[in-house]
Amino acid sequence: MQECEKELRKVAEKLLAEKKVDLIIGYEEGSLPIRTRPVFIQETGETSRLVWNSRCESNLCSYLKTIKGRVGIVAKGCDIRSIVGLVKEKQIKREDVFIIAVPCAGIIDRKKIEDILDGRELLEGVENDSQILLKGEGFEEKVDKDKLVHASCKSCGHRNPVLYDTLIGKEISQPEIGECSDLEEFASKPGDERWAYLNSEAAECIRCYACRNVCPACYCPQCFVDQSLPTWFGRTPHPSDSLIFHMIRTLHTAGRCVDCGACSRVCPMNIELRMLNKKAEKDVKELYHYEAGINLEELPPMATFKMDDPQEFIK
């Protein structure tokens, strides 16, 4: 990990010095323990701020849509799939992005750490390859990183980049990923139970739209829920309105969502609706044999059609 960081800084320094990019987007240590934050580096000599570890959770691609010029971006497997999606949908130009790829074995879910801390204040966190040491007043706890891995990372089939300009470190081993077991278990429950669960989650939603704002696939200049001429989408935090919002968002990102998990990480209410996105991802794969963000050639499934698409659901 230390070596990765060194190499990353070296690459970034070189890119800026050679004026191959105007800006590097990456991660730096945050002001709170065990947190990182996005950093934007334009000057050589500042690249020592860059870090790379399993706490680099943000999907930085969301910034690409608003930044002009040639940008170097530190990207994980899922982030790169987001970039592929954005290039495909003509939101950014491939030649404007210099992808500094880092193989990623999974990101730590800080909500799981919060659960472990259970209200205690964290003053310092030290990470090594397999463990994380949590220090606070009167306590010191070592936790295996495997236990803290984010749900999206557990089912990630693309730890290594699908596309890059330069690779930091070496490619890592990719475990075989089967069907999402949570999804299958949920789908086998009776309809009423599924309905009740989704409703209870949607009831928590405060409609802050953080999930939409952070989503790399959500870039409409005006989101459907913000349309006001007329205001035809329910904007109240009523479970019915909220569930419809989340379901429509799922439909909008169907075949485009790369399951980077950014939406669930930013949710202030810890709503667990990833199931909906996983379901759409699975359906699109089943119906149209398409996986989001794998290559630059294939058209997004909802932007195209075939004469012989399955239509057994149509009377």
């Binding site: 309905w195 009740a196 035809w232 419809i244 169907a254 909906l276 909802m302």
Partner: protein
């Protein structure tokens, strides 16, 4: 409107209310043909004419259910017959995912239905409406997405 009052007059007998989104060029003409041909079909259906099945935003379906309809029928031209060449084919992909996600969320199978009806299929239109009314009637009143007061 007069009709709906008749349907709901006797509150002891519940009748399903079904909203049908029909494309202008095929299905709506099919409904028209059924009318011209004096074909009988249940009066539970309320028709909304849309330019093309590709015009149907999935939100139409959600909103309909939220507003308390008991069934939604979406109908367009048969594949290959679309007035706009491919509107129904693009829509078909959208509907496939929509239907699956609705059922995944616990909306009963049969609550939201999709069909292709051409302008020449007046008979089929009345048949489809009969079937949909029966199926939705068997499911009972819609409770999903409806806001309880």
């Amino acid at each position: 409107m007069e009709e709906s009052q008749v349907v709901n007059k006797d509150s002891s007998k519940w009748e399903p209310r079904i909203i049908a989104f029909l494309c202008n060029w095929c299905s709506y003409a099919g409904a028209d043909l059924a009318g011209i041909g004096r074909l009988q079909y249940p009066p539970n259906v309320r028709i909304i004419r849309v330019p093309c099945s590709g015009r149907i935003n999935p939100y139409f379906v959600f909103k309909s259910l939220q507003q308390g309809v008991d069934g939604v029928l979406v109908s367009g031209c048969h594949p290959g017959d679309c007035h706009y060449i491919s509107g129904n084919l693009v829509a078909r992909r959208r509907f496939a995912v929509l239907k699956r996600i609705l059922e995944f969320a616990g909306v009963e199978k049969g609550r939201v239905q999709f069909t292709w009806i051409s302008a020449a299929e007046g008979e089929r239109f009345s048949q489809v409406i009969k079937e949909v009314t029966e199926e939705v009637g068997a499911l009972g009143p819609n409770k999903r997405f409806v806001k309880e007061n």
